[in-house]
Subunit: 234 residues, 2 copies
DNA sequence: ACACATTTGTCCGTATGTATC
DNA sequence: TGATACATACGGACAAATGTG
């Protein structure tokens, strides 16, 4: 892995472990700690800023954002590629609602930018955080890219399977957030009051070279989660 | 303004004007066009990536993301500091629902990280996009920082007043997204069916030096808008 | 109010690695 | 395979904001 990414990950670990106080060491101290150049340490720092871990004050220092890190009820969109990564302190489990291999119809093909008839895995899961129902995820994987999936993998983290076993690199995603009234069945799954609405995130996920390997629609339990995102003015 | 920011803005303008095709010129061509160094052009490019204008493919080039730019129904969170900036192609107007000067109670003081009793402007507005009701914004401004506001300013863009007239620099914000059932009055304002729910964004806005000058809660009309955010894996 | 040291921000140049075509 | 194009990393110089005395 690139140096600046390794440094960033180490700094994140230290922040989560409260190894620093309210402030990070200065750039100068950090580049000495990690034996890298100033540009490299600044690349690492910028990742932390983008993900909402810290904010910078010119002339003063690097300050840790206390609030949103490690809170079960806060889902940080800036880090949100796969659930397990966003909430590493919590146990994410799944109940499989549907698993199958289908063939892309016109709409799916359009969303995937693939040919009609392309084989697609469909995985619908009820997901739990620390045993509380968190979300209903309806997800589609392009089988030409994700060659093999099964129910066992789907019960666990599909994303860690893709990254660790298939060695594919997930690069970026587009997220569309809206509100959807829930059906009675969905309310039961999520254990919320009938007639309520929920946050829905439509997601398009890309490998490197901008290959779409996955699209999904997820309904979140409002009682369990608030979305968070930091925004930097450039 | 910094060179890389000027370059980024110019590139954004060109993208919005469809001055490039599907691809941007290469880094090398761009740095020659703008007479800047490679680092500078790359800083500018990274802004466009972060804001969802383009994506990069190593070895191939810089590709323009068609979909989300200039769409009235898509509110790009990565650019969302003030509404007028996010949707420059559209007319944003406001109807003032409430305007007043109040004194920070315990809760407001805590949210603002200021003393109890600090003077605070409250501005509640119904906002329209191209004359369609878009959102109900309930907003608070710390008078110690934003020294003067009036109803006239509030009817127009408060953010452009802050930046252009007061010459204050808005630096970053924290956004919390959830779902809220609407009251009948809110439904009428937004012209949506009674009993429906809406996206709510709680926002904390900072000047440089991490000074909180504004917090707000905004209810969005789901019929008019979908939130969008690009996420880069680092 | 001023001068000074500290700390982050911007910009430049160069070299080499990696992915795509 | 070679050429092209983006990615990573190092080094140095000066500017701007902050904090201190």
């Amino acid at each position: 892995m690139a140096k600046y990414k390794e440094v960033a990950e180490d700094m994140q670990r230290k922040i989560r472990a409260h190894a620093f106080g309210k402030k990070l060491p200065t750039e100068k101290e950090l580049l000495e700690m990690y034996s890298v150049s100033r540009n490299t340490i600044r690349s690492a720092i910028n990742i932390l800023v983008k993900q909402g871990y810290i904010h910078k004050i010119q002339g003063s220092g690097l300050y840790i954002n206390k609030k949103t890190i490690g809170d079960r009820n806060v889902l940080n969109l800036a880090v949100k590629i796969g659930l397990s990564r966003v909430l590493p302190e919590h146990s994410i489990t799944s109940k499989l609602l549907n698993f199958g291999l289908i063939s892309a119809d016109k709409k799916l093909a359009s969303n995937f930018s693939c040919d009609i008839g392309t084989p697609i895995y469909r995985v619908k899961r009820l997901r739990f955080i620390d045993n509380h129902p968190l979300s209903i995820e309806d997800s589609y994987y392009n089988k030409n890219i994700i060659k093999y999936l099964n129910e066992d993998i789907a019960k666990n983290s599909i994303y860690s399977y893709i990254e660790n076993d298939l060695k594919l690199e997930i690069r970026f995603s587009d997220e569309y957030i809206s509100v959807k009234p829930l059906t009675d069945e969905e309310c039961e799954h999520l254990n919320v009051q009938k007639g309520s609405s929920s946050l829905m995130i439509r997601e398009i996920n890309y490998l490197k070279s901008s290959i779409i390997f996955n699209i999904s629609e997820t309904l979140y339990n409002n009682d369990q989660i608030v979305l968070y995102t930091p925004v930097q003015r450039d």
